[in-house]
C-alpha cells in the first residue's frame, strides 16, 4: 500500500494505491486554512479505514504541505514534480500539462527536456480568481460556467493578475454588460494569464492534459484553452488527484502514521517574528477609543414624518451603492448602503421607490450623483447634477471639520486621498490598479474563513502579536496569509495584521507619506473600510494622530453629493438674484424621476463594438426610453456625439499622424521592417530615412491594438515587464506575417545626449529588449533579424560602425551611400523633433487664445501608441484641455540640477517638463507611468517635488493592459475641479 497526500492552498487530496498501483481510495476536500487539523483528520481516517498499525509507505506534497511534512517526518515531494511522476505512470504520451490550482498555475513541458513552469510571485490566485469573480457577480462558479456557454462576445480583460482583471470587470458589470459575456471573458482572461505567464516562448502543442480543480470543474475554461491554443486537450480521470497520485507513486519510505499524527499536532515552534504592536492592549483602551469616535455624528431624522424640501445624494461606486436624502439643514431623512449587485440602475431605482414610499410628500429640490456610475445614473434617472467624487467627499468632510487638511477614503475597491490647502483640493492621490481592492479583500478573506466582516475585524482588535503581511497588493498579502496560517498564527493576529497592511498600503504605497506632519493635523477618514475599528486604529497608530471618523464614513460620497446639490441650488439662486432674473427657484423641481415614473421605468442594454477609430472600444448602449440613452466603455465623444473629436489641440494625435505619414517608398533593395514600439516610436523617422536612402522599402508594423498584442503574448518571457515591452512581441509577429526581408530592431544602450543630465541612457528594458525578442522568438524563418548594438549618439563614429552592421547582414554598401544615409537619418530625426516642437507652440498659442488650460501629458515617446495610452489623451482633450507632450517643452528650460543622478534621456525630459510647467500658470503636468516601470519609481518623487515646490499639482496616471478608464476619468476630473477651486480661491483673494 502507498499513500499520497496533497495539501494545496485550498484543498487537501489523498490517494491510496494497492500493491498493484490501483487506486483503492481517494478523497478531495476543502481545508479552510485549518491545515493541521484537516491533515490529522485525513490521516486518522486512513488509519481507521485501513486498520493501519505498522509503518506504511507515504509521502506528502502540495504548497501547504512543506512545513507540515518536515514536522511530521513524512517525505515531501514538490507538487509540480509529483505531477510529473504521475504523468509518467498514467499518460506518458502527453506533451504538455496545464495545471491550475487555487493559488498556483503550472505548465509542464514533458517531451524532450523536461521543463516545468510555475507562476511567479505576481500572478498568484489563478483558481481563487474564478471564485472571486463569480462572487463579484453573485453567482456560483458552476453558474458562471453555464452562463459562459451562452456568450456572444468576449471583452478584453487584463491578464496581468487577479487584481488587474477585477479592475476591468467591475466597470463592465456596472455598465450593464451581459453576465454571459463577462463569464466567458473571465475564462479567456485566465487562459491569457496562464499563457503569458508560463508559456514564455515555448509553444504549447501536441497532446495537452488539463489538471486541477478549476480545469476539472469548468468545462468552459477547458474550451477557452482549446480555442486559444487551437487544440483539443483532455482532462483525464483523477484529474484532481494527480499530485496526490504522484506523491503516492514517488513514496518509497515507510512512515509510522500514528507517530506522525502526534508530531503534526505539535505546533510549529517558531512563529514569524513580527515588529507590529497590538492594536489595543486592553479593553479600557478600546473603550476610550470608541467613546472618542462616537462624537462625530450627523443629525438623523430617519423614520420621522417629513414634508418639506429635501436633497438627494447618490454615490454609485464600483461595488456599492449609497443613497442619502437630507432635509435642508443637512439632517439625514433616509439613507441606504448596499451592494450594487452588478446592476446599479436597478438597485438605485428600487431604492428610490422605497424612499418615495417612506416619504410620499417630500419635495426633492435637487439631486446630485457621484461615483463611477455618475453619468449612467444621471442619464437614466434624470438626476440634476453630476459631481466628481473628490469634490463630493470634500464637501461632506467639511461638514464635520470645516478646516479639514487631509481626507483619506478607503472604499472596497478604491482609495482616494487628498490634501486641502486654502480651502481647495490641493493634491490628489488615487490608488493605481495594483493596490486596489484592499478594502474588499478584508471582506472576501473574512468570508472565506466563515466570518462576517465586522466579527472578523473585531477579532483583530485584541490580537496580541499582529502578523506582518506586507503591503504590496492583495495577491501578495493573500500568499503571506497562507504562510502565516501554515505557521499557526491565530486568526486574531491575522485579522489585525490585515488591517495594518491595508493602512500601510494606503500610507506608504499610495500616498507615499512618512509622518503625520505631512498630512496635516486635521484629518477626516472615511469610506466603508474605515468603519472597521481595526483599520481605523491601525491608521491612528501608524500616523500617531487622532482623526475624525464620521458615523456615516461609508456614505460620505452620497452625503457630500446631497450637500453639493443644495449648494449648487443656493449658488444658482444667488446668481439669479444678482443678475436680477425673476426667480422661480423656490418652486423649481428636481428632474429626478418621480414615483410613478420610476415604477414604470425600464431600460435595455446592447453591446456593440465602436469602429470609429483604432481603439475599437467595446461599448454598452443603455436605452432608457424617451430618447435618453447612455453609452459606456467609450474613450472619446465620437460614439456619443457621432462627430469626430476635434484633435486640433492634441499633440499626441499629431505625433501619430506624422508617424503614419512616412511612406514605405519604392526601394528595390528589399523590404526592411521596423517594429513600432518602445524607443522605435521616436527613432522611426531616423531609421526610415536611413534605409529609404539606402534603397530599401521601409515598412512599419503599425500602431498597436489588442489583436496585435495577442499575437505575441505566447513569447513574452517576463510577466512583470512593462506593457509597452510586452507589446513589442506582437509587433515582431506582425512583421513576420507581413513577410518583410529583414527586421531591424537595434539595441540602443544610449539615447541621444540632449545635454540635460549626467548621462543619456535608455532604460535597461529599452536597451536590451531586442535581445529578448531574439532569444524568445522561434519563428523568424528566412527573415533576417538585425539587433546589433548601435550608437547614433556618437555622430562622428556612427557611419563607420553602422556600415559594419549593414555589411554583416545585408551585403555590401559604399562608404558614400552609408554616409549619405546617415546624414539623411540625422536630418529627418531633427526635422521630426522640430515639427513636434513647432506644433506644440502652435497648440499652446491657440489654447491661450481660447483660454483653454494646457496639460503636459508627460510620458515616453511610446506612450503615443493608442493601445498603450488607451486614448487617455483623447479623454483629456474631451474634458476641454489642450494636450502636449513632455518632449515638446523639455528643451525650453536650461539644464538644471536635480536630487538624483539624472542619467536617462527620457526621464531628463520629464524633469525639464516639470520645471517648465512650474513656470507656466496655465499648464499642468500629468505624468503617464507604465505599470512596472522601475525607473519611474525613482523619478516620480522628484517630479512631484519639482512641481510641488512651485505650488503646482502633480498628477500621476498608471497605465497597463487595463483598458478601463473610469478611474482615470475621475482622476482627471478631480484635477479639473482642483484647478477650478484653486482659481476661485485666488480670484477671491485678489478681490
Amino acid at each position: 500500500m502507498k499513500i499520497g497526500i496533497d495539501i494545496g492552498s485550498t484543498t487537501i487530496k489523498c490517494v491510496v494505491l494497492d500493491d498493484q498501483g490501483v487506486i483503492i481510495h481517494k478523497s478531495y476536500e476543502r481545508h479552510f486554512a485549518m491545515i493541521t487539523e484537516k491533515t490529522q483528520e485525513v490521516i486518522r481516517g486512513l488509519i481507521e479505514q485501513f486498520q493501519i498499525t505498522e509503518p506504511v509507505v507515504c509521502a506528502i506534497s502540495g504548497s501547504a504541505g512543506m512545513g507540515l511534512a518536515e514536522r511530521a517526518n513524512i517525505p515531501f515531494v514538490q507538487e509540480v514534480y509529483a505531477t510529473k511522476v504521475a504523468m509518467n505512470h498514467r499518460l506518458p504520451e502527453a506533451d504538455v500539462v496545464i495545471e491550475l490550482g487555487g493559488e498556483d498555475a503550472k505548465i509542464l513541458f514533458l517531451q524532450g527536456n523536461l521543463e516545468v513552469r510555475m507562476n511567479g510571485t505576481c500572478a498568484g490566485g489563478t483558481g481563487a480568481f474564478a471564485d472571486q469573480m463569480a462572487s463579484l457577480m453573485q453567482i456560483t462558479v458552476d453558474e458562471m460556467n453555464e452562463l459562459a456557454k451562452q456568450h456572444e462576445k468576449i471583452y478584453s480583460i487584463a491578464s496581468r493578475c487577479g487584481v488587474f482583471a477585477k479592475t476591468d470587470i467591475q466597470p463592465l458589470l456596472n455598465q450593464g454588460a451581459r453576465k454571459e459575456d463577462i463569464s466567458a471573458s473571465i475564462f479567456y482572461a485566465i487562459v491569457n494569464q496562464t499563457i503569458t505567464g508560463l508559456a514564455q516562448g515555448h509553444p504549447i502543442e501536441g497532446n495537452i492534459v488539463y489538471l486541477g480543480g478549476p480545469l476539472t470543474f469548468m468545462s468552459e475554461l477547458r474550451k477557452s484553452f482549446d480555442r486559444t491554443l487551437n487544440c483539443k486537450g483532455i482532462c483525464p480521470e483523477d484529474s484532481l488527484h494527480f499530485v496526490a497520485l504522484g506523491a503516492a507513486y514517488y513514496a518509497e519510505d515507510t512512515v509510522d502514521l500514528n507517530q506522525a499524527l502526534i508530531k503534526i499536532g505539535e505546533q510549529a515552534d517558531f512563529v514569524t517574528e513580527s515588529a507590529l504592536q497590538p492594536l489595543f492592549r486592553n479593553q479600557e483602551e478600546y473603550e476610550v477609543f470608541t467613546a472618542r469616535h462616537k462624537e462625530h455624528q450627523v443629525p438623523r431624522k430617519e423614520g420621522m414624518e417629513y414634508h418639506g424640501d429635501a436633497y438627494l445624494g447618490i454615490d454609485s461606486g464600483s461595488t456599492t451603492l449609497k443613497v442619502i436624502l437630507t432635509d435642508s439643514e443637512g439632517s439625514i431623512l433616509f439613507s441606504k448602503y448596499q451592494s450594487n449587485q452588478g446592476k446599479p440602475i436597478d438597485v438605485v431605482r428600487d431604492t428610490l421607490v422605497e424612499m418615495y414610499e417612506q416619504y410620499p410628500d417630500v419635495h426633492i429640490v435637487s439631486g446630485a450623483v457621484t461615483g463611477y456610475g455618475e453619468d449612467m445614473i444621471r442619464n437614466a434617472l434624470g438626476v440634476d447634477v453630476g459631481v466628481v467624487e473628490t469634490v463630493a467627499h470634500f464637501t461632506a468632510a467639511k461638514y464635520f471639520m470645516p478646516d479639514v487638511e487631509f481626507i483619506i477614503d478607503i472604499g472596497g475597491q478604491d482609495m482616494k486621498c487628498f490634501k486641502i490647502r486654502n480651502g481647495a483640493i490641493d493634491n490628489i492621490f488615487l490608488n493605481e490598479a495594483c493596490s486596489s481592492g484592499c478594502g474588499s479583500f478584508l471582506q472576501t478573506f473574512a468570508s472565506s474563513l466563515g466570518y462576517p466582516i465586522d466579527e472578523f475585524a473585531k477579532l483583530g482588535l485584541f490580537g496580541d502579536n499582529p502578523v506582518d503581511l506586507g503591503s504590496r497588493c492583495t495577491v501578495f498579502m493573500n500568499s503571506s496569509v497562507k504562510q502565516a496560517q501554515k505557521e499557526g498564527v491565530t486568526v486574531e493576529n491575522i485579522s489585525a495584521g490585515l488591517s495594518i497592511s491595508v493602512v500601510k498600503n494606503a500610507l506608504y504605497k499610495v500616498i507615499r507619506v512618512h509622518s503625520a506632519e505631512e498630512l496635516g493635523k486635521k484629518i477626516v477618514v472615511q469610506g466603508g473600510t474605515f468603519l472597521n475599528d481595526a483599520v481605523l486604529r491601525a491608521f491612528e497608530q501608524e500616523m500617531g494622530v487622532d482623526v475624525i471618523r464620521p458615523d456615516i464614513a461609508g456614505m460620505m460620497g452620497a452625503y457630500g453629493a446631497a450637500l453639493y446639490a443644495k449648494q449648487m441650488m443656493e449658488h444658482e439662486k444667488q446668481h439669479q438674484k444678482t443678475t436680477g432674473e425673476q426667480e422661480a427657484a423656490a418652486t423649481k423641481d428636481s428632474d429626478i424621476l418621480n414615483y410613478e415614473e420610476l415604477k414604470e421605468f425600464t431600460y435595455s442594454i446592447k453591446s456593440v463594438t465602436c469602429n470609429g477609430c483604432n481603439n475599437h472600444c467595446q461599448l454598452t448602449v443603455n436605452d432608457f426610453g424617451n430618447g435618453r440613452r447612455f453609452i459606456g466603455g467609450n474613450r472619446c465623444e465620437k460614439p456619443v456625439t457621432n462627430q469626430a473629436q476635434d484633435d486640433s489641440l492634441n499633440l499626441y494625435e499629431y505625433k501619430l499622424k506624422l508617424l503614419a505619414g512616412y511612406e514605405p517608398g519604392h526601394g528595390t533593395r528589399g523590404v526592411i521592417g521596423l517594429p513600432m514600439g518602445l524607443n522605435m516610436y521616436e527613432m522611426y523617422p531616423f531609421w526610415h530615412a536611413f534605409f529609404t536612402s539606402l534603397g530599401y522599402q521601409v515598412k512599419m508594423s503599425g500602431f498597436s491594438n489588442r489583436k496585435l498584442y495577442l499575437k505575441g503574448q505566447g513569447t513574452i518571457p517576463s510577466d512583470t515587464v512593462c506593457f509597452p515591452a510586452k507589446m513589442m512581441h506582437g509587433h515582431i509577429q506582425q512583421l513576420i506575417e507581413m513577410g518583410v526581408d529583414a527586421i531591424f530592431y537595434p539595441c540602443m544602450t544610449y539615447n541621444f545626449d540632449e545635454k540635460k543630465g549626467a548621462n543619456h541612457y535608455n532604460c535597461a528594458v529599452i536597451a536590451g529588449y531586442p535581445e529578448v525578442i531574439e532569444a524568445n522568438t522561434v519563428n523568424f524563418g528566412n527573415i533576417k533579424y538585425i539587433n546589433d548594438y548601435v550608437g547614433p549618439h556618437v555622430k562622428k563614429e556612427f557611419p563607420k560602425r553602422i556600415h559594419q552592421v549593414l555589411e554583416k547582414h545585408l551585403g555590401s554598401f559604399t562608404k558614400a551611400e552609408v554616409k549619405n544615409a546617415c546624414e539623411k537619418a540625422y536630418a529627418e530625426y531633427d526635422s521630426y523633433m522640430q515639427k513636434i516642437q513647432e506644433e506644440a507652440q502652435r497648440i499652446i498659442g491657440q489654447a491661450r487664445e481660447q483660454k483653454k488650460k494646457i496639460i503636459v501629458l508627460a510620458g515616453r515617446p511610446y506612450h503615443a501608441d493608442p493601445e498603450i495610452n488607451h486614448g487617455i489623451h483623447k479623454l483629456i482633450a474631451a474634458l476641454g484641455f489642450a494636450v502636449i507632450s513632455e518632449d515638446a517643452v523639455a528643451s525650453l528650460v536650461p539644464k538644471f540640477k536635480v536630487n538624483l543622478l539624472n542619467q536617462w534621456t527620457y526621464h531628463a525630459r520629464l524633469f525639464s517638463a516639470a520645471q517648465y510647467v512650474a513656470t507656466q500658470p496655465d499648464m499642468y503636468l500629468v505624468h503617464l507611468v507604465s505599470f512596472g516601470c522601475g525607473l519611474d519609481a525613482v523619478t516620480t518623487d522628484e517630479a512631484r517635488s519639482i512641481l510641488e515646490d512651485a505650488g503646482k499639482l502633480y498628477t500621476q496616471i498608471k497605465i497597463d493592459e487595463v483598458t478601463n478608464l473610469g478611474a482615470v476619468k475621475i482622476r482627471l476630473r478631480s484635477l479639473m475641479a482642483a484647478i477650478e477651486q484653486t482659481e476661485e480661491g485666488t480670484n477671491l483673494h485678489e478681490q
Binding site: S63, S471, C473, Q483, A775, R801
Partner: protein, 423 residues
C-alpha cells in the same frame, strides 16, 4: 522665466574633520569578504561598522521611506541604515553611510540619492552619504583613499573569493564536521594580522597566500559522495547578502547540496570591462580607451592570479576568466548588454553547467529592469543551447514569502535529484 532652482539640495560631504570621530556604516553584502576588507579600512583610520540587520521591522523602515516599487536591495539597505540610526549604538550626528554606485544605466546608480531623500524625511538630513564607485562620482575630501589602500581592498576581495570558492567545495564533503569553517576562521585571523602589519597585498604575497589557502583547504579530509551541485547566480547584492536572499546558502546546505558562489572579482572585471566594450562599439576618446585598456590589463592579471591558484588543485573547480565567458556569450547575447548582470549572466549559466553545476538558482529583485532582459529574457535560450541547465529564477521582495521561494527551489532540486540518480 524663473530659473531659480530652489528645489535642488547640495549633498552633505564627508570631510577630513569627520574622519576622526565619525562611524562609517557599510551595508554588509558578503560576510566573508567584508570581514577581510573591514580591517583594511580601519587601518586607514576610519571607524567602520557593518550593517546586517534583517527581519520585517527592517523592511518596514525601508518601505516607509523609499518608493515601494524600487528594487528590494534598496528597500532592505535603507531599512538597515535606519535601523542602525535608531539602534542607540551610534551617535546619529556622528555617522556616515556608504553605498555603492555602479554608474551604469541600472537603477542602483540612484540608490544613494533615494537614501539621502529617505534620511531627510526620517529626520537625519545631515548624515553624509559616501558613494563607493570606480568612476569618480561624488568625491569626498575625507575619503582620501591611497592607491595602496585600494590595492589592499582589492586584495581583501581576492582572498575572500578564494576562501569562499574553495571552502564551498570542501564543506559538504568534510569527514569531521566543522573542519572547513574552522579553517575559514583561521585564515581570516591570519590575513587580518598580516594586513595589520601592512603586508599581504603585493602580488608576490598574494600568490603565496592564495596557494597556501588552496593547500590548506585541500588538506581537509573529505569523502566525496554524489551530491546535487547548485550554482547561485543573479543580481550581485542578493547573491551574497544573507538577509537579502533569505539565507539561501544555508537552505541549500540543509537540502544537502554543494553550492558554488561565483567570485565577486569576476563581476567587477565584467563591469569595468563594460566601459571598454562601449568604446569599442560606439567609439569615443582615444585617451579614455587607452586608460581603460591599461586598467583592464591590470584587472585581467589580478583575475588570472586568483583563477590560476584555484586551478592548481585538481579537486577544485575554478571560475572562468571574463574573456572566456565573453566567448560563451557569443551568439547568445550581445557583449554590448552591460546593464546590471547583462551578458555575464547567460555566460555564467552556461559556464556553470559545463562545470557540473547545471542546477542553478538565479536570484533577482522583484521587478528588476535588467533582469527582465538578462535573466527572464535569456533563460529559455540558455536552455535551448545547453539542455542540461536546470535553472529556477527566484524573486525577492518585501511581500514575497519564503515558503514560495523555497517551494520553487525544491522543484528545481527534485529535477536535480532525478538527474543525479540517473547518472
Amino acid at each position: 522665466m524663473n530659473n531659480k532652482n530652489t528645489h535642488y539640495k547640495e549633498r552633505v560631504k564627508f570631510t577630513l574633520k569627520m574622519k576622526k570621530d565619525y562611524t562609517i556604516l557599510i551595508p554588509e553584502m558578503a560576510p566573508l569578504h567584508f570581514r577581510l576588507i573591514e580591517p583594511i579600512l580601519s587601518r586607514q583610520g576610519f571607524h567602520i561598522d557593518l550593517m546586517g540587520a534583517e527581519g520585517p521591522d527592517v523592511l518596514q523602515k525601508g518601505l516607509k521611506y523609499v518608493h515601494n516599487d524600487i528594487c528590494y536591495p534598496a528597500l532592505l539597505i535603507t531599512g538597515q541604515m535606519l535601523t542602525a540610526m535608531e539602534s542607540g549604538k551610534y551617535d546619529p550626528s556622528k555617522v556616515a553611510m556608504v553605498i555603492t554606485q555602479s554608474g551604469g544605466g541600472c537603477r542602483d546608480s540612484n540608490y544613494i540619492h533615494l537614501m539621502r531623500k529617505a534620511f531627510e524625511k526620517a529626520g537625519y538630513p545631515n548624515v553624509p552619504f559616501i558613494s563607493a564607485n570606480i568612476w569618480g562620482l561624488e568625491l569626498n575630501s575625507g575619503i582620501n583613499l591611497t592607491p595602496r589602500t585600494l590595492l589592499m581592498a582589492l586584495a581583501g576581495m581576492i582572498y575572500g573569493d578564494m576562501i569562499m570558492i574553495v571552502s564551498n567545495q570542501v564543506r559538504p564533503y568534510e569527514i569531521n564536521k566543522g573542519d572547513t569553517d574552522a579553517m575559514v576562521d583561521r585564515w581570516i585571523e591570519r590575513l587580518t594580522a598580516t594586513f595589520k602589519k601592512g603586508r599581504g597585498f603585493m602580488p608576490k604575497a598574494i600568490e603565496k597566500n592564495l596557494h597556501a589557502i588552496g593547500e590548506d583547504f585541500a588538506s581537509i579530509p573529505i569523502q566525496k559522495v554524489p551530491k546535487v551541485k547548485v550554482a547561485v547566480v543573479g543580481e550581485l547584492f542578493l547573491k551574497y547578502s544573507v538577509p537579502g536572499n533569505n539565507h539561501l546558502e544555508e537552505f541549500l546546505a540543509e537540502q544537502d547540496c554543494e553550492v558554488f558562489m561565483p567570485s565577486m572579482l569576476g563581476f567587477g572585471v565584467y563591469k569595468t570591462n563594460g566601459a571598454l566594450e562601449d568604446l569599442r562599439l560606439y567609439g569615443g576618446k582615444p585617451l579614455k580607451k587607452l586608460i581603460m585598456n591599461i586598467v583592464m590589463k591590470f584587472l585581467f592579471k589580478v583575475e588570472d592570479m586568483l583563477i590560476r591558484n584555484i586551478e592548481a588543485f585538481d579537486q577544485f573547480t575554478a571560475p572562468e576568466r571574463v574573456n572566456t565567458l565573453k566567448e560563451r556569450a557569443e551568439g547568445v547575447i550581445g557583449i554590448g548588454n552591460s546593464m546590471g548582470e547583462g551578458w555575464y549572466l547567460a555566460a555564467e549559466m552556461l559556464e556553470m553547467a559545463d562545470h557540473g553545476y547545471e542546477n542553478i538558482v538565479c536570484v533577482q529583485p522583484f521587478g528588476c529592469l535588467p533582469c527582465h532582459v538578462s535573466v527572464k529574457g535569456m533563460i529559455n535560450k540558455v536552455r535551448r543551447i545547453d539542455p542540461r541547465v536546470n535553472a529556477v529564477d527566484i524573486e525577492y521582495d518585501p511581500g514575497a514569502t519564503k515558503v514560495n521561494q523555497e517551494n520553487r527551489i525544491k522543484l528545481m532540486l527534485a529535477v536535480a535529484k532525478e538527474h543525479l540518480n540517473e547518472n
